[in-house]
Structures are given as structure tokens and as C-alpha cells.
């Protein structure tokens, strides 16, 4: 029984995508029909630097199993410097989550340009696979949100 449920485990994945590069990259993946699991749901933000660590923890609190942040490649930020700040913030946050024992495969940052539909799709496939292998997030959830 437990093995069966494990096989059917479908992770909840939140992807924050910056409007200018990564969201467009996801659009391109769509128009190129490059599939990735439906477990990924995208939230559009103006820039990767808009993503507050509170959003990421919030997602885990409410039952997300993985959170990925996609932004423009360093140097290509539409706002010129946003992703540099995001990079530092996320590096520190992920390091902290790792430090308190949250599996580091549940968080990821990937730089995806508007032209990288393929990269978007492969990244999402990889990430979902990784999170699936880690199983349900139990270390950072609020139990009250379970059904």
C-alpha cells in the first residue's frame, strides 16, 4: 500500500518566473510544445528580485514540495541588477534551509532566458524528478494545511 502511494506521489511545485525572461521562456516551451509535468505551476513576478523568502517558506508551509525560482541570466536582468540581489538572497536562504535539515533538492534557482524554451522544459523535468525522488515535504509544512 505504502509503495503504491509512493509511486503515485505527485509533488506540488511552485515556480516563480520573472516576467521578462523566464516567463517568456516558459511561454516558448509552451509554443514549442515541450512538455513538463503538470505538477509545476508558475507564478509571474516582475523580476526574480521580487521573490521574498517569505513567499518560498509560505509555499512550503501550505504544502508545496518544491519551489524553483527562474530569472534572467546574470547580466541580462531587465532591471539590470535584480537577479544579482535575488542570487545572493536565494543562496543564503537555501543554505539556511539546508542547515536546518530541509533537503536541498527542494529548492532551486535557474536562469532561463526568453529564448530558452528547451532549457525551461528540461529544468522543470529535472526538478520535478528530483522532488519526486525526495517525496513529500514534511519538514517545512504546516500540518493544519493537510486535508
Amino acid at each position: 500500500m505504502s509503495i503504491e502511494t509512493k509511486e503515485e506521489f505527485r509533488p506540488k511545485i511552485v515556480a516563480f518566473c520573472c516576467n521578462w525572461c523566464s516567463y517568456a521562456g516558459a511561454d516558448l516551451a509552451g509554443s514549442s510544445r515541450l512538455s513538463y509535468p503538470a505538477d509545476v505551476k508558475i507564478i509571474r513576478v516582475p523580476c526574480s528580485c521580487r521573490v521574498n523568502p517569505m513567499f518560498i517558506l509560505r509555499a512550503f508551509e501550505k504544502g508545496a514540495d518544491g519551489v524553483i525560482l527562474c530569472g534572467c541570466h546574470p547580466g541580462d536582468c531587465h532591471y539590470s541588477t535584480g537577479n544579482y540581489y535575488a542570487r545572493r538572497r536565494m543562496t543564503l536562504l537555501f543554505s539556511m534551509l539546508d542547515y536546518i535539515g530541509v533537503e536541498n533538492g527542494r529548492t532551486r534557482v535557474e536562469w532561463v532566458s526568453a529564448a530558452e524554451g528547451v532549457k525551461f522544459s528540461t529544468t522543470m523535468n529535472e526538478f520535478v524528478e528530483k522532488v519526486r525522488s525526495l517525496g513529500k515535504n514534511v519538514r517545512l509544512e504546516d500540518l493544519r494545511c493537510r486535508n
Binding site: N52, P53, M54, L57, R58, F60, E61, P74, G75, T81, Y84, Y85, R87, R88, R89, M90, T91, L92, L93, F94, S95, M96, L97, D98, Y99, I100, G101, V102, E103, N104, G105, T107, R108, V109, R139, L140, E141, D142, L143, R144
Partner: protein
Amino acid sequence: MQELINRAKELLADGTVARVLGWKAGDLPYNPEPAYFEKEEDFENFVYNGFCGANLSKYMIEASKLEGKTLVCLKPCDTYSFNQLIKEHRVDREKAYIIGVGCKGKLDIEKIKGMGIKGIESISGAEITDGADTLTIQTLYGEKTCSYADAMLERCHVCKGKEHKIYDELIGESKETKDAERFDSVAAIEAMSPEEKFAFFQKELSKCIRCNACRNVCPACSCRKCVFDSNKFDSSQKANVDSFEEKMFHIIRAFHVAGRCTDCGECSRVCPQGIPLHLFNRKFIKDINEFYGEYQAGEDTDSRGPLTDFTFDDVEPGIVAERG
């Protein structure tokens, strides 16, 4: 201490300062409280000894709003906090007259009690001028002794040094108390398996009662209204109803002070449940040092903090997984 009192009275008398922010002796041998002294006779209760651990920088936020200058007694480590507050425009340098006071390590009454010493009536050896490295404690259950070093706060074992980073004048000698490596405790946790790390923090944080002492004593947590008290993020919960919230609160608090925390150790000192909260802040400091170069918040008043700065070739967040 007498020199300090005399000088403070002098500055009060000649109108240089309108008040003095120091410590007032408590009704037990170990509980002096931060206090203002405005009149000569107030100084009767003025005290400065090993139990004056409180970092008075935080009180300067309010004191900066008062008329006239406030004389504030700052220990070497407190001056880092003061600098950081200047950088953030939270205190007014012009409203402060800083006397850098000497420090030979501050004492942790919890540690003394932890040694099984109870019913304390009096303690000797805690005076700043005492050369002794042993405390002699009279209790209802007999006389006890313990070494000064064993009774010191954790932060004093990893002291940042005897130097005051900002002051108007200095009174008193300081002593080197550092006898441990600052990041050893963090490194020890880093070396654990994810399961051990999780178990460790789960256990520590399960004690948290969300009293907010750590936050309210923290000089970096100087927000007029904390995000955890406002509805801006829909994050106001008041109590750790679920174990998630302990983590959320402490991670976010540490993140908000990352790059601003001077590692003054007040959070760990005041936690009623003895949670080693500095392990969060120090982890960020260690990471910042490793990833972006050595940085000590409060070293100066104008450098750019690591989270409001970047370089083009900063490490990628993937480093966390690569380090394993």
C-alpha cells in the same frame, strides 16, 4: 566604576549630556537593569559589573528622540550595534555621548544556576575591577565557587575584540576573553546529516514560546512594526501553533538581520528557553564571509551591506547542493 560615575556626573553637571544611560543595581546580586540617570543622587544605584550584559545600543533608538544628548555606556561589542544603527539612520550620533566601557567578559546567570548553584544571596568577583578569575557565591545552601570563564556568556568566548568601534571617550580596561572559534558550533551542525540537523533544530525550536524576547532585544530588529505583527504578509500568528511557525519565525528573523547582525549575542542571552539563537545568525555570517568575503556588520557606518550589494561573479545558489 567610580571613575565612570564621576565622569558621568561631571558631564551631567556641565550640561554636555541631559541624561546617562547605564545600569541600575537590582534587588538580587545578578539582576541589574538598564536605567537612565538624570540627577546626581540617582547614581547611588549605578552599577557596572559582570552582570551588565545588556546591549544599550538598542535603547538609543528611543533615546535619540529625547531632548539633548544621552551619555551611553557601550561595551566593545555594543559599539558594533551602534554603528550599524547609525548606518540605518535609527540612532542619531549627535544625540549620543558614548563612553566606551571596559569589559572582561559578561556573566550568564543561567550558566551559574545550571551548575546547580541555587538560593543565591551574594556574588563576589563579578566587579569589573576585580582581578579574580573565580566567582564566590554565598547561597542559602552554603558557599559555592565557579570560575569566571565558565560562567561567561557564550558570546564572550568568541569575543570580537577589545576595541571600541565608536566612542567619545574610553573608561576602563578590557580583557581578551576569546577562547573558542566563532564558527565552530555552526560548522559542527553543517557536518551533520540532514536528519540530524533537522532533529537538532526541531528539538531546540520546540522550546520556543514566541515571547519575542530575542526579537525585541535585538538591535538589528529595529522595525517599528515587525512583519510578524502586521498583516502585510498575512504572517501574524502570535503563537507557534504548528512547528512550522517556529522555523518560519526564526528563519525569517535571521534573514531580515542577515548582513546587519553584528553577532552581539543578545538573542541567545535573553531567550528564556535557552535556545542557541545565535546559531542562525552566525550561519548567515559564516556564509556571507565564505561567499562574498569577510564582512563584519557594524565595523563602520558607511560600507554597503552584503545583501544590498553584489558582484557579477557571485556564487550561484546551486553551491548549497554542490557543497553537499
